[in-house]
Symmetry: C2
């Protein structure tokens, strides 16, 4: 820790993107101890101004040298940027919290949702990975169920908002929606097909087995975070015309049956999870409820009619906050609490 | 058959609604042999004019007496209207094809998707039920798979368009979308919560087991149509901000494993099903592809990574056409072909 005044020298890389901006916003909201802030980007957002603590900061061009003196660097960048620059930041003494998928599968890099597996942070070697948005919200509800009775199998279909793609996708949804309402054709640019008043069963690239990378991330990341390499997982991920908030229909099979009321109780006791489950009064989570909120919302909890040890749930979360920026900041907070960041750190 | 000129006296009840109008449109498109057409409604649409064969017809008030002389009556009406008037139509000699859920569970009433179980029509006693939209498109793909190897279990999550609710819901989606794009709040009237840029895991009423009626229909109707009362089925049904076209993520487990290529071949051979499955070229069905089309589209066919005998599919269909009006007209066509309607009929 080289910073003064009890704060850290913090860098946010990709500060002009949807997630990077949220990281800055959440650092301020949560009064994260920042003594010095550097905002970086490799893209056209360099040069833009961002407010933090009442002061304007200019996004500078990211470079290896820019990490000199940085204690903590958040990477909200494409995979190739993280691969190129995160090791440079670590070499210069920073701890990196990386939101990209660059290091998630690396067995020497902890992949962490603090409420679920904060203990994995102790093994870090400078880089900690934050999971994919759709995985984060799912493991937040899987963890307490896995504690009640070991999971055997998870089947999930997602309803993912366009903000997961980025700011330009939100703009595309708005422009296409306007066009369609005016009787004009939707012009796809960001997505291969129109997204306004439509759905695309296609998130990230397709792989040889017919699944997308997004679907395969839900398999491998869920296993790694829960420490359950044997867990059977299958996902269908779908982009929907929603701005913010990912939703998931989840089927879970456990060793022993879990009663819905026992599941609700365990989920209510889970930090960061809110149970909204009174369907007769139309109480169930929707993306609009979750947008701007920190919690993972769960409802529609019921027995799986097709499996004796099955449960069905509906899980909704702000994909930019807990699904991305908030989880990254919480990783840093947990590391600070565990003495893995700043003065207590022995690296 | 009391009609002359080789056609039938046909009535469409609920002719002012989204499905009723489609029935009239499809009767004309398919040159169904109509010698006389009567359009009826119990609602505020009575008095409206509808075009058929270049001629305007006025929607009259539905009543028991109005079915005098009718050979074939399509009911695109709420359950209570079908319960009240379908028996009256049958009593007066008509065959009823009912789109409501009034008679679907009745063991004396065939529940038919002609490509799947036309043989059930032979047992009719005047009323034939057409299934729920979300069930129709699913059984169209389940049938050929069940023929390859008996199904053990079906798990499905749906992405259902607002036109399934009716014309006023399409209007609500458009008005709310306009409002949100203009920075005004969405005003929910038809749905309990905003649907623009949002999702509702809520279709039809909730039942005591935590499932909605829509979800329970997918269980009971699928079993009845496939003649598989033992089949394990679990559904989560979700309303999405799409105008026309229902989508479904389906997980299927069979007695013996089915290779994706064998499934594609069987699905290609299924009448009324089109395989769109070349994801590397962004070829997969979306609601916009299906809207206005007669076929059920299927893609994203792949092995279920969580089950040795599992397959995963993505199924999309125009919910107003094959999901509703077209299936009803096809039922009548199949009955005519089998001599169950008109001159050949022995009732």
């Amino acid at each position: 820790m080289r910073s003064s005044q009890g704060g850290m020298s913090v860098a946010v890389v990709g500060a002009g993107g949807a997630v990077g901006r949220k990281v800055v916003e959440i650092l301020e909201e949560r009064a994260f101890p920042v003594s010095r802030l550097r905002l970086m980007a490799t893209s056209r957002t360099a040069g833009q101004r961002v407010l933090f603590g009442g002061r304007g900061y200019t996004i500078e061009n990211a470079s290896a040298e820019a990490f000199e003196g940085v204690d903590l660097a958040f990477f909200a960048t494409p995979t190739e940027v993280s691969l190129a620059l995160a090791p440079e930041a670590v070499r210069r003494g920073a701890v990196v919290v990386d939101k990209s998928s660059a290091y998630r599968a690396d067995s020497s890099v902890p992949l962490v949702v603090p409420e679920v597996n904060a203990e994995a942070l102790y093994g870090h070697r400078g880089i900690v990975a934050s999971p994919n948005c759709s995985t984060i919200q799912m493991v937040m509800v899987l963890k307490p169920l896995n504690d009640l009775s070991p999971l055997r199998r998870v089947v999930v279909s997602t309803y993912q908002s366009v903000s997961g793609t980025g700011r330009e996708a939100v703009e595309e949804l708005r422009q296409q929606s306007s066009a369609v309402l005016d009787g004009r054709p939707a012009q796809p640019v960001v997505y291969p097909r129109p997204i306004a008043f439509n759905l695309l069963p296609h998130i990230d690239e397709f792989t040889a087995n017919g699944y997308t990378k997004e679907e395969m991330k839900m398999v491998s990341e869920t296993r790694k975070i829960l420490g359950r390499e044997d867990l059977a997982v299958s996902a269908t991920t779908v982009r929907v015309p929603v701005e913010v908030g990912h939703s998931e229909a989840v089927w879970v099979e456990t060793e022993e049956p879990i009663e819905p009321e026992a599941a609700r109780e365990a989920l209510r006791a889970m930090p960061g999870v809110v149970v909204l489950d009174d369907p007769a009064r139309s109480v169930y989570p929707t993306p609009l409820d979750a947008a701007g909120r920190d919690e993972v919302f769960v409802g529609r909890i019921r027995k799986d009619l097709s499996s004796k040890t099955g449960l069905v749930l509906w899980v909704v979360c702000d994909n930019l906050r807990k699904g991305a920026a908030l989880n990254a900041v919480q990783i840093a907070e947990a590391m600070a609490r565990c003495g893995l960041l700043g003065e207590g750190e022995g690296r």
